[in-house]
Symmetry: C2
Subunit: 331 residues, 2 copies
């Protein structure tokens, strides 16, 4: 049995979507147990209307909620009886294998690192996003957890990303690129120039050198390693340009009759494509290198996304990824 | 008369496109003089076949060429009789108002800062790109010149960007956003957190706070200020996603009959759109804050692009932008 703790109170549609998502996940997979963490008074009435395997669902009562408007570090320290803090503590105490939350991103990142804690020699836990590409998917890490990173963090990100790509994305010998502003070894800022030789010398990864952001949507590398500032800029630009371009295409089609006719005809193809480039059905982004797995689900997660985020934890547990990360980073 | 020096030897299609572009620019505007810098033996035969106003074109002979494979800083110091170094010296000595080069980007950035030199109190010269948006165009600076920037550089970039947006893009009271990974004041890395209060307190700019990269293609701010690493990541992701998405749309249309038919019908609309999101006819990217204007044209510039890069210099000169920048940064 894989034990997955779920923050019932975090997210725009909590607790309803969180509870419903948890129940759907239980139905979809018999190998999991779900621990719903949140206020019983809010959670129980929703559960009452649903059918599920009562042996595999437990509710842990908490009274506080960390809001997205709370200052993350302060909230994590002060709101000790919050669903988010309780979930992180379960990881720390090995009472759960994974914790899923759609709550405050900042609090998840801080809580993961200071309450759940890093495993073994891991220095920092990166937030990992699977980015859609022309070839399939590439990994981008760190996407949001550690700005002002140190070169050795990037090396650890590369090692953890390699394990993720191997065991979760089933890529053989995945390539690692250092996200940079030019391909030559001397290019970049102080961080990338210092990280380059560390990555080059590491025999646990398949390092292919510096890679430019231009190649990201083309899947030029399987894994893109960077600090959280650069990763977040790349990811958000990616999302924004995708949205803007599709908006512009629609608008430009409306300016002529042939465009309108053509637009109707291409609608099915375009819809399929948008789905590939869209992450709204994905579960969430993992934080790697902690005591157990933390999945940061979107703040606006629906029940389907919460369900998917819960199911995402299974591959991690089945492959003992936390254990593998500990050993690989040790070496 | 505006005197514009042109690097005849830099770029993939030099000297032919450079010479032809210069001659086209002369024909397009009677207020400019062009100084072509390069090897006479290569330049003169091309000029011979062209018609132009001989009083407004001068050739300055140089014997060396900085290649893109040269290490920029070393090349700028050692190749003293190169077209690029000669052009930068003309700016320094006020023998030209502007210098256009499609040569080695690195050498242009280094040469601009160490040979042409910063004007007045300007600390660093940012590379400026006009990014296409749903609303028109936004400015992104620094896009490539200064990685590991200091907070006060970002403040100067904001002031210079504001003048550019006002006088060259004709925007009234243009908004300045600090490119960041969240909108709250405390968000970001050490650089953006230190730059925020400087920008907030400056009364020469219309600062609207932190802006995320997601809003870039929507023109959320008129001017995006950042260090060159972040700017380059945003710009290259922008270009890459645009290309990848259009490639995917084409491919997805070919998978069905209705898609193919629709594709034919939308072709004209899509072409217009691609032109808006494409920068291939643009001249080049200015380096602001130097003694005179430097325009970095694309390495693969055609004669049309060289011509446009030369004509781009006119607005700068007519508006005394170099002078305005000197005074604004002084204050």
């Amino acid at each position: 049995m894989i034990r997955i703790a779920v923050d019932a109170m975090g997210g725009d549609f909590a607790p309803e979507c969180n509870v419903k998502g948890a129940v759907s996940a239980l139905a979809a997979n018999k190998e999991i147990e779900v621990i719903l963490i949140g206020n019983e008074e809010a959670v129980d009435p929703i559960l009452k209307g649903l059918e599920y395997d009562k042996d595999r669902l437990e509710v842990i009562h908490t009274t506080e909620v960390i809001e997205t408007s709370d200052e993350p570090a302060i909230a994590v320290l002060k709101k000790k009886d919050s669903s988010l803090v309780a979930g992180m503590k379960m990881l720390k105490n090995k009472e759960a294998d994974a914790f899923v939350s759609a709550g405050s991103s900042g609090a998840i990142l801080v809580g993961g690192q200071i309450i759940a804690g890093h495993i073994g020699n891991v220095r920092r836990a990166p937030l990992v996003v699977e980015v859609p590409t022309v070839e399939g998917k590439s990994l981008l890490l760190d996407c949001g957890a550690n700005v002002d990173a140190k070169p050795e963090y990037l090396l650890q990100f590369a090692i953890m990303g390699t394990l993720y790509a191997k065991y979760i994305m089933h890529k053989e010998n995945p390539t690692v690129g250092l996200l940079n502003i030019g391909t030559e070894e001397y290019k970049g800022n102080a961080l990338t120039r210092a990280a380059y030789p560390l990555l080059k010398e590491c025999d646990q990864i398949n390092f292919v050198g510096n890679v430019e952001a231009r190649g990201l949507p083309f899947g030029e590398a399987d894994i893109y390693v960077c600090d959280a500032f650069a990763g977040n800029i790349a990811l958000k630009t990616f999302e924004g340009v995708g949205k803007a371009l599709l908006k512009q295409i629609k608008a430009s089609l409306m300016t002529s009759f042939s465009g309108k006719m053509g637009g109707l005809l291409i609608k099915p193809s375009l819809k399929g494509l948008m789905k590939t480039f869209d992450s709204s059905e994905d579960g969430g982004a993992p934080l790697l290198g902690l005591n157990g797995l933390v999945i940061k689900a979107h703040g606006n997660s629906t029940d389907v996304q919460i369900k998917n985020a819960i199911l995402q934890c299974i591959g991690f547990a089945e492959n003992d990824l936390t254990d593998k990360i500990e050993k690989a980073v040790e070496a």
